[in-house]
Point group: C2
Chain length 397, copies 2
Amino acid sequence: MKFSSKIQNCGYSPIRKFYPYQVACKKRGVNIVPLNIGQPDIKTPDAYKDVLKNFDIDVLAYAPSPGIPELLEAVKKYYNKVGVPVETSDILVTTGGSEALTIALSCILDDGDELMIPEPFYPNYSTFTNLTGGKIHPIPTSPAENYKYAVREKLESCLTPHTRAMMLTNPGNPTGYVLTQEEMRIIADFVKEHDLFLIADEVYREFVYSDKPLSSFGTFDDIKDNVILIDSVSKRFSACGARIGCMISRNKELVAHAMKICQARLCCATIDQTVATALYGIDFSYFDDVKVEYMKRRDTLYNGLKAIPGVTLSNPEGAFYMMATLPVDDTDKFQQWLLEEFSYEGETVMYAPAAGFYGTPGAGKNEIRCAYVIDCELLEKACMLLGKAIEAYNNRQ
Amino acid sequence: MKFSSKIQNCGYSPIRKFYPYQVACKKRGVNIVPLNIGQPDIKTPDAYKDVLKNFDIDVLAYAPSPGIPELLEAVKKYYNKVGVPVETSDILVTTGGSEALTIALSCILDDGDELMIPEPFYPNYSTFTNLTGGKIHPIPTSPAENYKYAVREKLESCLTPHTRAMMLTNPGNPTGYVLTQEEMRIIADFVKEHDLFLIADEVYREFVYSDKPLSSFGTFDDIKDNVILIDSVSKRFSACGARIGCMISRNKELVAHAMKICQARLCCATIDQTVATALYGIDFSYFDDVKVEYMKRRDTLYNGLKAIPGVTLSNPEGAFYMMATLPVDDTDKFQQWLLEEFSYEGETVMYAPAAGFYGTPGAGKNEIRCAYVIDCELLEKACMLLGKAIEAYNNRQ
């Protein structure tokens, strides 16, 4: 049987590809300290359980295609509170940020069209792009420059006659990089001048640890027709399993096109939309406590990694990820070795090798992505294990 | 801003396009009896509320990409019970049957590839197909032959060098047509001989009112590599708002490709998967009562429509839809007139004009689809209104 070229261009998740080695590692009795996963351990706000307890509808019916009115209203209120002037008609509720991305890209990209994305980037962007027939044109960055990409000349040099849009995650996954207001302006001018869509994945919006103001591309009025915001309850409210997100745009034509897809797939889950409505409505003070916890973890991980001889990294300002460059030949091979051969007091460590986050072949071979969604004690242990492992790996015969 | 050719080829739902007229109709104080919607009014089994009451997980985390193990096991058990020998590794849980269709088509169709579908068909198939860049090649049928399509010569005549797959709904939406065992064999031989995928959307499996045995293309061992089953809890358990479905195939290579998409979109909603697990586990006797109710409604609607002078139709054997040919010039125009100008004792009626269910331009102009998901009294009233309206419409100046 023949398969589409599109699916053949897609790969498996680079984060999940070590799963068989992980199973084998557990079999040999070695415990794994995980720096590789993006699932926060923060408690979902209690509001979600209240919704379930009180959910009392006899027929679990279809919801409206763009979303239930209560959720659209709650999202609008949340956005207005963070300074983004959207109407409910600018919002389409989606099955996670993932579906929002899929819908946005389907509306924009034809076969051979190009999407500019600063690398390293969230690997699932590749699958979403490949499925449209379009392709990613990576904007190169370097760890030495702390993955800075919002430089006018850099952006211009990636432009081709096939460029249709630029996509970014801010705060960044996997870099934790947070754009300055000046950098956002550079990007805004660039997309405006070249008539490109700007898909801004801002699902980590609240997780900024510097004194930079909470910011959104949705506040730039002069590019309101270019901007597509991707939103999700997953990280913000530690509700990854609810699979509720949004695609938001003040470009009416785009929303009208996207609505065709929303109508075809009928609706998002009714129960989860009700849960999400409650989550968007919680008091913002919730984020203060969560932020304090993440900052503590970030500092623990940063200090722990920095103390390992030969490891270089910058302290990221947002999200809950951190890139680091290791003094090893290949972080993919090193990860396999960690799972197959290494252990210290019955334990080893996992990270996400960074090659899978790059679009440029061969890039990121010495880099890793770590997520700090586990507690400080575990993070310290992970760094200790990584230090011992690097030494042992480089002293092998 | 430029949009993709794919999204420009998509249309809005023909079922929902009368929404503005509907609003205007309500404004002029006229009540609408709905024969146009596919949302069953049957109570969702109580098992679903029990799940919500007892759901007590602190972190609403991601589920595994192929589905939670409990649900995979429940689906497997259900399928084994209906005689389809599937393993849990053949099953991918999806966000409704809609996502299962999207994933299957993305794995198969490239730009310009063709998908054979008997017309009239479920209109959203068009959007799912257009988004892959592929196109539908309709298999023509006629109301006079009761929409019969499983005829070897008919199938052969639709084959082109671009044909990659055949897709069908059985029991049928919008026709209610149920394939005989002989017809299923004809289709099986056809896809086998031409090495085509067969996407069998069997979400109405339990709703068969004749003495035909409950059947599935999953039982045909010799085409197990060709068959992709589409499943959903929406209609079977009257749980449309749960948005849980499955893509099932014994073609390991297909499932491996589909898994890339499942990994990229992370998972389906955790709460709804738990709900669906309970639903797949309910006693099959549930369907007996539901079937009795639907049969009563089918007979009521059939007899009511048949009694209208000039209306022709066949009594469908499955699902909860019925096609009818009306003695009017254009059922699209007639529907608009029904909403804008007609009323009898303060009421009018809505159906789904059938042109939107056809791939062949101009086909189905005199046909309508009715859904019998409302109670018998309302169905009788709908038929009475339709009869009066046809007379008034054809006697206009």
